[in-house]
């Protein structure tokens, strides 16, 4: 009896986890998408007569203003565009590269497999931030370079995940029978193997969007990421750091935005893992 009760509790909790994650992620995405409608032009409007206004003091500047008199709320919402863009595009790129590499190296094995796996070893032993500062010193900062950097440093995770699953599947009967009736390699890879791997890949993607939002903001905070003039969460935190002593709100709100976005995605990812990947191939 008690086992039944605890299982019921558990599933109710899982629903709560999903609802919280979906509301947080959905709400933030909606706000960010509508930012131009909600606060037209406010993110960049400088008003030196309204410098460093405290939050919650006036309805016009609910989160206060920054050292140039720009509205913090409008900038936080606009800054989300960069984070979501980097998170989504970099993960999409890493998935395409990683899944193809993983399928090919797991299915054909041999020389190519060895090259991909040794490359993965090398990458896992290199601290990401140091790789990033070297890469950015060569090619410069900016949005597209950062996305390329994230793709380079993360496709390996998908390649390893997919390769491992392909190794387990390639000798199963359904693949052997497909080979026997002469299905082309391309169709075996993408129509027979790929659908069996979608679950774990989606879980890893959700968690990686969260992780890449964190990485993007740290790089931008360190001055290695997107252009400081574009509103972004990491950039606002770098600015706010100087004013920590007398204007806490400039650094508190952008950080909260990162925390809530990443938390929403992590909740969703955790829920998805239990739903799509019960055997735990993606567990950390």
């Amino acid at each position: 009896m008690s086992a039944v009760v605890s299982v019921m509790n558990f599933s109710r909790f899982k629903n709560l986890e999903f609802i919280l994650g979906a509301v947080l992620t959905g709400g933030i995405c909606l706000l960010v998408l509508l930012s131009d409608l909600l606060f037209p032009g406010a993110a960049d409007r400088i008003d030196l007569s309204a410098r460093l206004l405290a939050p919650f003091a006036s309805p016009e500047h609910l989160f206060g203003t920054d050292p140039l008199g720009r509205d913090v709320l409008a900038r936080v919402v606009a800054g989300g565009q960069i984070s979501l863009q980097v998170g989504l595009v970099s993960v999409a790129g890493a998935v395409v590269v990683g899944v193809i590499m993983g399928l090919v190296s797991g299915y054909y094995r041999g020389f190519w497999d060895m090259v991909v796996m040794r490359f993965a070893d090398v990458q896992l032993a290199m601290p990401f931030i140091l790789l990033a500062i070297t890469f950015i010193a060569i090619v410069g900062g900016g949005l597209s370079n950062m996305i390329i950097l994230l793709i380079i440093s993360q496709w390996v995770q998908y390649a390893r995940l997919v390769r491992g699953s392909v190794l387990a599947l390639r000798d199963r009967e359904f693949i052997q029978s497909a080979q026997a009736i002469g299905v082309s390699d391309f169709n075996i890879l993408f129509r027979h193997l790929l659908p069996n791997l979608v679950g774990p890949v989606i879980v890893l993607m959700t968690l990686n969007v969260a992780n890449n939002i964190l990485l993007e903001s740290s790089l931008t905070f360190l001055g290695l990421g997107v252009d400081p003039l574009t509103p972004s969460w990491g950039g606002m935190l770098a600015d706010g750091r100087t004013y920590l002593q007398n204007a806490w709100w400039v650094s508190v709100f952008p950080g909260l935005a990162i925390l809530l976005t990443v938390l929403g995605l992590n909740l969703l990812g955790d829920w998805l893992r239990d739903t799509l990947d019960p055997t735990g191939r993606t567990s950390r």
């Binding site: 070893d121 070297t134 508190v252």
Partner: protein
């Protein structure tokens, strides 16, 4: 076993060789140190620049520079900094202990906190303590580490004025950097402890231990914990790389005189010898820890050796 060890050593050596080669090559694409050194020096002729490059040894072919660097590693000679000519080994010698001490403090904090919490969650599986711990760990995973650091500074240095906001000076300066990284690492570790405990608690010797009438404490901490020690040590070892990466960022916030600060200053000045030494030393540590974990695992579990 000899084959297994040999294979792992060769793999590790290959990884290090590849990393040093990539780093040495990439670093030379970041820009000309001679230009950085002469910035703001007024009229500089091309002949002056060439002379500086020759002084720094940058006129030699790349492969010669690389092999010099590689041979130097074995005698812990990483060359001299382009700025001021201090031997790089001396700079590393002061920065490495600062980073390692911080890493150790974080590891200790996180292991001490996550083991009891993870065990609690596993024992109370599905009940509210488990769910509370799960939510808190998801929250901990979602913090941007540098922002958490800023918030701690805001609270403990600016508002309460209890702790120094930056620098490395005595025990109190360790608290905030260690807690920042500790919270994030603990969030991961709690889940690892919970998962391995759940598996262990279902095994028969735990039932026997309980049937013998041993106290719950002794069952959990003596019998169960000892048996999940091996997977846990593996996980903790594998995190080392990520931990070092996080510390590099945190050092920047707290002005911690470690390898991260050294690397950031070096990349700004195009100080090749320092930057390539920092990346090499960090990668060597990560590879060494992974190798040790692998070997330990191979010793304990014969199946790994014939993978």
């Amino acid at each position: 076993m000899v084959n297994f060890l040999l294979k792992r050593f060769l793999q590790a050596a290959f990884v290090l060789l590849a990393i040093t080669l990539i780093v040495a090559f990439a670093i030379r694409l970041t820009g000309d140190p001679a230009l950085m050194l002469t910035q703001g020096a007024g009229s500089v002729t091309e002949a002056d620049l060439a002379q500086i490059r020759e002084g720094l040894g940058l006129n030699k072919p790349f492969l010669v520079q690389y092999s010099d660097f590689l041979i130097g590693i074995f005698s812990l000679d990483f060359g001299r900094s382009f700025l001021g000519g201090t031997p790089v080994s001396q700079l590393i010698g002061t920065a490495l202990p600062a980073t390692l001490m911080l890493a150790l403090a974080v590891m200790v904090v996180s292991i001490v906190v996550s083991i009891p919490l993870g065990i609690k969650a596993a024992v109370a599986r599905g009940k509210w303590p488990d769910q509370l711990i799960r939510i808190l760990s998801l929250l901990g995973l979602s913090f941007p580490n540098f922002w958490l650091a800023l918030m701690l500074v805001l609270l403990f240095s600016i508002t309460l004025q209890w702790l120094p906001p930056s620098g490395m000076d005595g025990f109190s300066s360790f608290l905030m950097p260690a807690v920042t990284m500790g919270i994030i690492l603990t969030a991961t570790n709690v889940r690892l402890v919970r998962t391995s405990m759940l598996e262990t608690l279902q095994s028969q010797y735990i039932m026997v231990a309980r049937a013998k009438g041993l106290s719950e404490r002794s069952v959990l901490y003596k019998h169960a914990l000892r048996n999940c020690a091996i997977p846990l040590i593996t996980y903790f070892g594998l995190q080392f790389g990520g931990l070092l990466g996080g510390i590099v960022v945190i050092e920047r916030v707290f002005n911690w005189p470690g390898l991260g600060t050294l690397a950031f200053d070096a990349v700004g000045a195009r100080d090749y010898p320092v930057l390539q030494a920092v990346i090499t030393v960090l990668s060597m540590m990560i590879v060494a820890v992974n190798l040790l974990v692998d070997i330990a695992y191979g010793l304990v579990d014969p199946r790994i050796r014939t993978e």
